[in-house]
């Protein structure tokens, strides 16, 4: 099976050359196959946010190589990284990050707008995606008219809008109560199992991580363990 993510000897340092130089990541090697559902766990300060930023093409590693869907992301310029984020990565944030003053439909359309999809096409697809996450009856609601779980469902629909290579979810249930959290996790499982999506879940919760196929644990910027979870294999896996 093809590796959709390939991290080779990734290191990230801050304040390079300064007395307070700080190494957040140190020699990370991870391979993630297409259609896998992987979780990265670690306590705060373990370097998982830094790793997420690198996987999400928001940041460049100081050392090492990162291939995303065959593209050497570490070498790309800012302009190109924007394109990579737009087409290949679907972000789901802990705090939802829906754009205020834009209704659910427009929020889902946004990545397609940046991808310069024609109006008709993107509206159609946004409606389809909202129906898929069970938000078909709230398309014209503003973010402040939606509950936390509803917001996260809209955010997930937005994340998959451009049919990205990976979905990168950063503590997606962190701001939700347990029940709503389970509902959101169910959507991820459905995307993984039915649609064959590759999902990387970043969390500090062992319980959530157990639901995935593979668990990578970080501590002090290094991988300390890697084991299988109880998650079912996806269609494509």
């Amino acid at each position: 099976m093809q590796n959709i993510i390939r991290l080779k000897g990734i290191a990230k340092s801050y304040f390079v050359g300064h007395p307070n130089e700080f190494r957040a990541l140190n020699g990370i090697d991870i391979d993630i196959k297409k259609g896998e559902f992987v979780s990265i766990i670690g306590e705060s300060g373990s370097g998982k946010s830094t790793l997420m930023n690198i996987i999400g093409a928001l940041d460049k590693p100081t050392e090492g190589q990162y291939f995303l869907d065959g593209l050497d992301v570490g070498q790309e310029r800012d302009q190109e990284l924007s394109r990579v984020r737009n087409k290949k990565i679907g972000f789901v944030f802990q705090t939802f990050n829906l754009i205020p003053r834009m209704n659910a439909l427009r929020n889902v359309e946004l990545p397609m707008t940046y991808a310069k999809l024609p109006y008709q096409k993107r509206t159609e697809r946004a409606k389809e995606l909202l129906r898929l996450v069970g938000m078909g009856d709230r398309m014209t609601h503003q973010p402040n008219e939606l509950s936390g779980g509803q917001k996260q469902r809209v955010a997930i629909a937005r994340a998959v809008a451009n049919d990205p290579a990976i979905i990168l979810a950063d503590e997606p249930t962190g701001a939700l109560d347990t029940n709503t959290g389970h509902l959101v996790m169910d959507i991820f499982h459905r995307l993984h199992e039915d649609e064959g999506k590759t999902i990387v879940l970043i969390t500090h919760s062992n319980e959530l991580a157990e639901e995935t196929q593979r668990i990578i644990a970080l501590r002090d910027g290094e991988i300390v363990s890697e084991r299988a979870g109880s998650g079912k294999g996806g269609r494509a896996a």
Binding site: L58, N97, I99, R101, Y114, K116
Partner: protein, 441 residues
């Protein structure tokens, strides 16, 4: 992201913060409104002045008596603006004021025939007038204010007098020193009502003279910017209009054998400004070289019009420049609010970047927003300024004319302000680090 998309987005974010948007726009509205208002007022005023002066005839050259000043004695007469203004003021005040000139200082008939002979190619005809003074026409309780003016037969053509009824003073009236008068339709209406005044007797009195004259003609009164009562918006009731009598008849009253001021009408096609200079130096050299107190000065309507237009333009630019300062302040307000808005929307910017917006797209989004604020403010300002300017013009009694140039300039300028003051905040937004922006609380 398309331009239409950006514009839609800009309006959405403006309507989300209506009060803030309105206050930010207010700076631009006031700035643009002030500039447009002043330009509209200025254009109305100069348009009115130009048409008035063109009515008076651009071929006219006025030759008038002028007291020598220390400067003039040394340098001779120059054509500078100060002098031009002084001449204009003298004209506006009318020649009826008491001044300590004597018979020998006046422009005589002999001088005029010499000028006519020397400049036969340029001179069409020479119109002479002599002010008797101001007074009134009375008939029982009826009265009308007037200025009594002795004129030559050429006066009507030279000064663009438009007859309503009857005829103007003719050569024979002058030759015979007849006691005939040409009155304005305003005076006629007050004194004679609806009845035709032609052939009627009218009793005219001034400080120094009174007498009965026969009305031979009625002319259309024109509000004249030289007329002080028109400028101050005086009521029709106290309006003072000119009553014309033959020059020779006036000469008998005043005892003047010459004139303080004559109008020389140049032939079509001759350069009246150049002619004015020439005739001034010629007359001064030949007739006034030994006169210690007086000399003559000549100016053409053409050059006077130029001077007036120049003065108006300078004034307009000066006031507009001051108004432009308020635009600058408005622009700084826009920049300030954009900076606030960008700080508030840091997370939104981070999210957009995570979703694939390039720096350029973020920059365009915020610049568009700034331009929209300025353009909407500018358009409101243009409407507001035009209405204000038109209102001001009508208050002063001038026909209002909107300045298209100013409107186009203002639209362009407000867009430029948006671009200029929007660029820095937008660029700041574009350069935000997406990680920091996403983490921003």
């Amino acid at each position: 992201m398309s331009i239409a998309e950006n514009i839609r987005l800009a309006f959405a974010s403006l309507t989300a913060n209506k009060m803030r948007a309105a206050l930010t726009m207010l700076g631009i509205i006031i700035g643009i409104g002030a500039v447009i208002g002043i330009m509209t007022l200025g254009d109305s005023l100069s348009g009115y002045m130009t048409s008035t002066m063109q009515d008076m005839g651009t071929n006219n050259v006025t030759l008038s008596l002028k007291q020598r000043q220390e400067d003039d004695k040394r340098t001779g007469s120059g054509g500078d603006m100060a002098q031009m203004r002084q001449q204009m003021m003298a004209q506006m005040m009318g020649a009826g004021e008491e001044s300590p000139y004597t018979e020998k200082d006046l422009i005589s008939a002999a001088m005029l025939s010499d000028i006519r002979e020397k400049y036969a190619d340029d001179v069409d005809y020479i119109s002479v007038s002599d002010s008797v003074g101001s007074g009134s026409a009375t008939d029982g309780k009826k009265y009308a204010n007037l200025s009594l003016l002795g004129v030559s037969a050429d006066y009507s053509g030279a000064n663009g007098i438009d007859m309503k009824d009857g005829r103007f003073i003719g050569e024979r009236d002058v030759d015979g020193s007849r006691k005939v008068a040409v009155v304005s339709e305003k005076l006629a209406a007050k004194m004679f009502g609806a009845a035709s005044p032609l052939g009627k007797q009218v009793f005219l009195s001034t400080d120094t003279h009174s007498g009965t004259y026969t009305v031979i003609g009625v002319y259309w009164y024109k509000r004249d910017m030289m007329d002080a009562s028109a400028m101050s918006g005086g009521s029709d009731n106290n309006l003072s209009t000119n009553v014309y009598i033959p020059l020779s008849t006036a000469g008998r009253i005043t005892g003047n054998d010459g004139s303080q001021s004559v109008t020389i009408v140049t032939k079509a096609g001759s350069d009246s400004a150049a002619f004015a200079k020439e005739v001034e130096s010629y007359t001064n050299d030949v007739f006034y070289a030994r006169n210690k107190d007086y000399q003559v000065s000549a100016f053409s309507m053409d050059s006077m019009l130029d001077t007036m237009t120049q003065m108006m333009d300078t004034l307009q630019i000066a006031i507009s420049a001051i108004a432009a300062i308020s635009l600058l302040v408005g622009g700084i307000g826009v920049m300030n609010i954009m900076l606030v808005s960008i700080t508030e929307r840091t997370r939104e910017i981070g999210t957009r970047k995570a979703l694939g917006a390039t720096n350029g797209e973020i920059r365009t989004q915020f610049i568009t927003e700034a331009v929209i604020i300025c353009l909407v403010g500018g358009i409101i300002g243009i409407i507001f300024g035009t209405v204000l300017g038109a209102f001001g013009a009508s208050l002063l009694g001038f026909p209002a004319s909107a300045s298209l140039f100013a409107i186009l300039l203002a639209s362009g300028f407000s867009t430029a302000i948006g671009l200029f003051f929007g660029y820095y905040p937008a660029n700041k937004a574009a350069k935000m680090d997406p990680i920091d922006a996403l983490r921003y609380e």
